[in-house]
Symmetry: C2
Subunit: 394 residues, 2 copies
């Protein structure tokens, strides 16, 4: 059977997951890897999840094992709504919350309902690779807008909105993946003023928001421009990623379309895992649990920064994340992170070169480091190796 | 903010889930409902699943709670491969199996990778509503091909293939939803001969295949035309639907695209639920468990047929399913099942009128009955009410 031209055109748009390829290389024994994006599994609350699961089997009956509503387990949606209220002073009606199979599915559903081929879609530069992949399926015209330590470049955003019919603006305003930066309050207010006048939606993807080690929380776009904001949340970074549970907060007209799309896509997300997470959340002190993650990641981040100061050549610059999992390194001048990568692997240390975080840029001189998946001793050894590699390649 | 025209064109194609609307009506107290498509939750193996889950928490470590491979839990894929070998004498390499969040997600992924707007897609008439919804997102040109007691109309299929560039042929050859019919061996061989010469894929959706109460198993299309067949399987009807676990069997070039699409869509399906199901499967006698379902559904089906013979007017015809969950009723002449529905609700009995199972037919004189979600006494009472309603409306 001939296999040519049997696939939909949209499949030509999707970049292969470069990170997936890279991770294979970094699994070689002896390599200290800062490449992965995995949370630290030592911090998974397994005992408490076990207790929650036992309770569910004992008292839950068969309902959570049956087909269920597309919107998600109502008690979990009520919990999410209540937590936004108590923690962020945000009023989010339960009806505006849809449970998804991880935030990644939120991106797929939003692409599905919003993006016709050629529609403008603003993406951060550098931006989250998973979002680029998810949206690529729907063949948008990607409009890259740079982000820096202050947030998204407002003038560049305005220029993009003026020049193309733009459906969506994708952002990770807290501890961005890959750069670790956080949009300042002033930047958020300015962006909100720009977007408020349009019919464009801003996606506020917030998987790391609760993982803040320093500084003050910044206002959510949902509080600034509620009618233009679609907020994505996730339990992957605060509880466990393996349950694949996230959620979308969206205004009613968008939610109606999302529910139709979710039903067509997979009927609903497992109510069993939703009920376990809910039981865990109501039976435990979640803030204390999250504080433990924050303490650990915060110390690891300081360890990495100290080692960088000690071992990297002075011309290398790094971002200073106030939370999350990643920091972003800029190499001097025209050094190519991709070339550095191959030498680094030989020297026993791995990272993700910057290229895949850009829509159409090659030979980036930037790279992403995760500070959460290795302990502090390994961080020091790994950064020492990386510093030596940079000096060697300069 | 203006909400006009903010959604992608593709969202105009999706039929609202009529069944979803109908199910709301049928939940009124006092109504005996044959409308739902839910498996009987009394047959869920909850104790064994609890044991499997405890084992996983005790011995499994943190791996199943971490991010994992897109393809799915390898031990579960190995089990599925081995069961095809032992039960169906089919050789399915592990590499050709992708775990999905239910079969419904399999349909979404196949639409995603295969269907460009306007591509031909053959759908059974009547056909599975969930498939129509899933594929509608990708704006195919639906080509309805009638099915009858013998299977799919070969000449009509040939005509469709001749007249349009056709990517996919969607079938449920065993105990079809909604009609309950099974394609005969001869029909399968004829269809295979027709399809083998083309570059069209046949989707063999087989959620009910193991639920056979009578007659002999028929050869899978995978054994007849392996290069043209994409097989979908599910644990929803044999274990529990609430875990949302299914799988796709596809040849390598298709699998490569499916993995790319699956990763972009939700990274992977929960490995936690996959590992529980795997533990359940290896620790228990699965055939004995399934036999219990078959016995129960088989008795319920006989009870329904006997009541139909007793209470329906003689001009009404019904299919004679050898397995599965549904049977299909054809009312005399120009009776409209939709009109019957409203009277039936008043008389305390519900079903799904035929209309939503057709792409563009209204006023169907057919309707679907599920025989699995009510006990035999209720079946008798409900069919008596329905028979009286039909007589009343004739």
């Amino acid at each position: 059977m001939k296999m040519k031209n049997i696939f939909a055109d949209r499949m030509n748009n999707i970049p292969r997951s470069f990170i997936r390829e890279i991770l294979k290389v970094t699994l070689k024994p002896g390599i200290i890897s800062f490449a992965g994006g995995l949370p630290n599994s030592d911090l998974f609350p397994l005992e408490q999840l076990q207790t929650a699961t036992e309770k569910l089997f004992t008292c839950g009956g068969s309902t959570v094992f049956q087909y269920a509503t597309t919107e998600g387990y109502v008690k979990l949606r009520e919990y999410i709504s209540a937590r936004y209220r108590s923690r962020n002073n945000l009023y989010v009606p339960v009806e505006n919350i849809l449970i998804t199979s991880g935030s990644q599915q939120g991106l797929d559903l939003l692409g599905k309902i919003m993006i016709s081929s050629g529609d403008g879609l603003v993406i951060e530069e550098p931006g989250y690779l998973g979002a680029i992949q998810a949206f690529s399926i729907y063949s948008p015209r990607f409009l890259s807008v740079p982000v820096s330590d202050e947030g998204m470049d407002r003038e560049a955003l305005q220029h993009s909105l003026d020049s193309h019919e733009t459906r969506l603006i994708y952002t990770v305003p807290n501890f961005q993946n890959p750069s670790g930066i956080t949009y300042s309050t002033e930047n958020r207010i300015q962006l909100a003023a720009t977007i408020e006048k349009t019919t464009t939606f801003l996606i506020e993807d917030d998987p790391y928001g609760e993982l803040r080690f320093s500084g003050e929380p910044k206002p959510s776009f949902l509080s600034l421009i509620p009618e233009n904001t679609i907020l994505l949340g996730s339990f992957s970074k605060t509880i466990v990623p393996g349950f694949r549970l996230g959620w979308i907060v969206a205004p009613p007209p968008v939610m109606e379309k999302l529910i139709t799309a979710k039903q067509a896509t997979d009927l609903h997300t497992s109510h069993f895992t939703q009920a376990i997470i809910h039981q865990f959340l109501i039976d435990n002190d979640v803030d204390t649990h999250i504080e433990k993650i924050v303490q650990t990641y915060g110390s690891q981040k300081i360890a990495m920064e100290e080692s960088i100061r000690e071992f990297f050549p002075p011309k290398v610059t790094v971002t200073d994340p106030e939370g999350g999992m990643f920091l972003w390194v800029t190499l001097p001048g025209d050094m190519k992170a991709m070339e550095l990568f191959h030498t680094a692997i030989k020297n026993g240390v791995a990272f993700v070169p910057g290229d895949p975080f850009y829509i159409d840029r090659k030979d980036s001189n930037c790279l992403r480091l995760s500070f959460v998946s290795t302990n502090e001793e390994m961080i020091r050894t790994g950064i020492k190796r990386l510093g030596a590699t940079i000096t060697q390649c300069m």
